[in-house]
């Protein structure tokens, strides 16, 4: 039995739009175990972005409980949650979200600095992960000097830097052409297989979802398919 990393129990997220309450998630229960490769799929408006935010601990639920590595995230302070998030979850965004004024190397270094790792170790680690994604030759480049695929690989390196157990990818190939998209997916697959990372991927692309081992399909804020 694999240990449970992330447990969502009957989670509701309700947005207040002026006078109207809009429920984005209506009682979602999902368990992510160590070593899972899960795709969260659904059309736009199905609540998958909301679910991603909650799974990534960027937001807390209106109702229900989210437990990340035995911590109820609603009960953590903002700072503790940020620290836990930084150590446990690595994000890969559709738009890469690299900091534009920092080089690839500095971007990868940032999460390690946030965790107050010593300079020497941090540099070593950053170099290691950049090498892993095959960008050790472009470390001094600014994001604007890199192609989309390279930027996404920097963002993968950044997400790997702090050695998180969970990688959360939000449409990781959404902004890439099919060939570089494929490369990125293969890289993710490799991380899952060889590094034993737990991967949660949000996508509307069913082909992309086929890389994943498990699928969770959302519709109107509810899980309609869970083949875990």
């Amino acid at each position: 039995m694999k240990p449970v990393l992330l447990d969502l129990e009957n989670v509701w997220k309700i947005y207040q739009m002026g006078e109207v309450e809009v429920p984005a998630l209506k009682g979602v229960s999902v368990q992510i175990k160590k070593g899972d490769f899960v795709a969260i799929i659904g059309s736009s408006g199905s609540g998958k972005s909301t679910l991603l935010n909650l799974v990534g601990c960027l937001d807390i639920p209106t109702k229900g409980k989210i437990v990340l590595k035995n911590n109820d995230i609603s009960k953590l302070s903002e700072s503790d949650l940020a620290s836990l998030r930084g150590k446990t979850i690595g994000f890969i965004f559709q738009q890469y979200n690299l900091l534009p004024n920092m080089t690839a190397f500095q971007n990868v270094l940032l999460p390690l600095e946030l965790q107050e790792m010593s300079d020497h170790d941090a540099r070593k680690q950053a170099e290691k992960v950049l090498k892993l994604v095959g960008l050790d030759t472009h470390m001094r480049h600014l994001p604007s000097q890199l192609s989309g695929g390279q930027q996404q690989r920097v963002s993968i390196a950044r997400c790997l830097a702090a050695n998180p157990e969970i990688i959360l990818a939000d449409e990781p190939t959404g902004a890439l052409d099919s060939i570089t998209g494929k490369e990125v997916m293969e890289l993710l697959e490799k991380l899952w297989k060889e590094e034993g990372k737990t991967i949660i991927m949000v996508t509307h692309d069913l082909h992309l979802a086929s890389y994943a081992y498990d699928k969770i399909e959302l519709k109107d804020g509810k899980v309609v398919e869970n083949n875990k």
Binding site: N53, G56, L58, D59, E78, S79, A82, S83, R85, G86, K87, G90, F91, F93, N97, L98, L99, P100, N101, M102, L110, P111, E113, L114, Q115, E116, R158, C159, A162
Partner: protein, 409 residues
């Protein structure tokens, strides 16, 4: 995140928005430079006043006829004997007053002055200058003037004068030396002494002055100068002289028709006045510093707005509120500090050049003085300004919800 790293990221932020940072820094520079310049001018004035005070002779009082009731700010007690009161009756200083003063035990020496404008010529060149007749027996002991060349007036002197340094050196086409003859109102006088300092004064024995100055009557004085015995008891002595003279002159406090002025007191008043002028100017300079602070706050708010997405990213990858707060606060402190440093530099240059521009003006002889204190004060104020102005924007940045910040474009 470690403090050092926060500083690095803050510096990075400043460097990556150079134009905006510089514009903000300029605001602080102006404020700090203005404060530094004004404080240094103030210090210079204060020092020059103190120097003058030191050379003034705090134990000397000048008593003259006439009384200005408002009390002019720069009152030097120059009312002439013979000035008239509202009643139309002429008020004078005369023998009775002198006798009364002689009876006071607190007074060490008494000198009598009369003053007037005279025509003076030397080797064909002539001009009109102010002449002072003094009691030659005591003048040497009571005056604050010092002899550069020659000697003071002696009790046997008659047709001799002592002249100021400028008068001797440059008033006429040729310098006037010791034992040269000057023609004053068509009478010849021998120069026996030349004074130190830049004055055009002419001093001569009182009896000769009465002969020269036609409108002066023997026994009527322009002013009586006294030297008090104990400078510590100056106020007390002034009060005694005042009551004695009121008695002799048959006037009440309300109708007082004479003025006792003390150079020390005048200097003190002047010093106080300079202090308040400085405080006023400083307040104006402080306003520009406040404007600079508002500039920082403005820049920081813009910066937070612009960097919302980056803040979201940093939070997603593990930045705590404290980290974001520190980075933004450091950013505004850097702006404040750089502005402060450059402001001190500019202020120093400004005050130096101002001293050169104004040149040899009374009260400014001390030049301008930039003290370490004012520099430290300016720097700490600019850092404080950075903290105050940066705090609210930084707090706003740190409180952003990661999910909202990430969605921001």
């Amino acid at each position: 995140m470690k403090f050092r790293k926060c500083f690095k990221h803050a510096l990075n932020m400043v460097l990556h928005s150079k134009l905006r940072s510089w514009l903000t820094i300029i605001g602080i520079i102006i404020g700090v430079a203005a404060v530094i310049a004004i404080v240094s001018i103030g210090e210079g004035m204060q020092q020059s006043i103190e120097q003058q005070m030191g050379s003034l002779g705090g134990d000397i009082l000048t008593i003259s006829a006439g009384y200005s009731r408002g009390g002019s700010m720069f009152g030097r007690g120059r009312m002439r004997g013979g000035s008239t009161q509202a009643t139309g009756k002429e008020v004078i200083m005369g023998r009775a007053d002198l006798q009364a003063l002689k009876g006071l035990a607190d007074i060490a020496l008494i000198d009598i002055n009369i003053r007037g404008q005279v025509d003076i010529s030397y080797q064909g060149k002539s001009g009109s200058l102010s002449l002072t007749g003094v009691d030659q027996k005591v003048w040497a002991d009571i005056t604050t003037e010092e002899i550069k060349e020659g000697r003071m007036l002696g009790s046997a002197d008659q047709n001799v004068v002592i002249i100021g340094g400028t008068l001797a050196d440059s008033f006429f086409s040729k310098p006037v030396g010791i034992n040269k003859m000057l023609t004053i109102q068509n009478k010849a006088f021998r120069v026996v002494g030349i004074l130190d300092g830049n004055s055009r004064n002419i001093y001569m024995p009182l009896q000769m002055a009465y002969q020269i100055l036609e409108n002066k009557q023997n026994g009527i004085y322009d002013s009586i100068i006294v030297k008090v015995k104990d400078e510590e008891r100056l106020d007390n002595t002034i009060a005694k002289i005042e009551s004695k003279l009121m008695l002799v002159r048959h006037v009440t406090e309300k109708k007082k028709d004479f003025t006792i002025s003390s150079s020390k007191k005048i200097m003190e008043t002047r010093s106080e006045m300079m202090g308040s002028i400085n405080a006023f100017l400083l307040a104006i300079a402080a306003v520009s510093l406040i404007v600079g602070a508002v500039g920082i706050a403005n820049t920081m708010f813009t910066s937070v707005l612009e960097k919302t997405k980056e803040i979201g990213i940093m939070k997603a990858i593990g930045a705590r509120n404290k980290d974001i707060l520190t980075i933004f606060l450091m950013n505004s402190i850097i702006i404040g500090l750089v502005g402060g440093l450059l402001g001190v530099l500019l202020g120093t240059i400004l005050s130096e050049s101002m001293a050169a521009l104004i040149g040899d003006v009374r009260f400014m002889r001390g030049g301008t003085i930039v003290t370490l204190n004012s520099v430290l004060m300016a720097l700490s104020v600019s850092v404080t300004v950075g903290i105050l102005a940066g705090f609210i924007p930084a707090r706003k940045a740190s409180k952003l919800k990661p999910v909202d910040a990430l969605r921001h474009d």
